[in-house]
Symmetry: C2
Subunit: 115 residues, 2 copies
């Protein structure tokens, strides 16, 4: 499915804010779903902002969400356009030391969650 200009713009706009880009970067590099409170902790951003940014990413069709009890888990939408495939590859090339450290912590917690 080829995207049109308007949809591409929505995606570029969604990724042009630092908190949102961090969220996507995190999700791509972690390769698993994350719930809101985990993102809040990792990014050290107020809950209402994380929530809103997630909504924007969701509306742009980049993320999908699933509710499990009290928690809402967000993850990179799998049914993807060729366009999004390239965008994801682009995002995965972004290197950021601090973020990488946080990812390690996240993965640690993921393991603990599973036990």
């Amino acid at each position: 499915m080829k995207p049109n200009l308007q949809h591409s713009i929505t995606i570029f706009k969604a990724l042009s804010e630092i908190t949102r880009l961090k969220i996507i970067w995190l999700l791509i590099n972690m390769d698993s779903k994350i719930c809101v409170s985990e993102i809040i902790e990792v990014l050290n951003e107020p809950q209402y902002n994380v929530s809103r940014h997630l909504r924007i990413l969701s509306k742009a069709g980049i993320l999908d969400e699933v509710k499990e009890g009290k928690w809402v888990y967000y993850f990179i939408k799998t049914t993807d356009s060729e366009f999004m495939q390239h965008i994801k590859e682009a995002v995965s090339t972004i290197s950021e030391k601090e973020m990488t450290i946080e990812i390690q912590r996240c993965k640690q917690r993921l393991l603990e969650r599973k036990n």
Copy 2:
């Protein structure tokens, strides 16, 4: 060269405006340099806006410019990061019928320019 978050955001922001995305799309699909007045004609946008958008793309490091007499030609910067490589691939998947027609016209004019 790996981009950091801030630079990636600058690029995403640069591409999240319709006129700018059209310009980049045009340049990628035409695979040649274009001068300001050609873009004005193709996109049917006021000169001052085209000029400003080109500047934003230039500042973001996406475009480069070369002055030839009265004209300033813009083109996709060749010295590219892996990040930009993926972004360009993404942009080139955008399909837009009207734009494609304009590209044909542009290419025609390019040929005439060379003769």
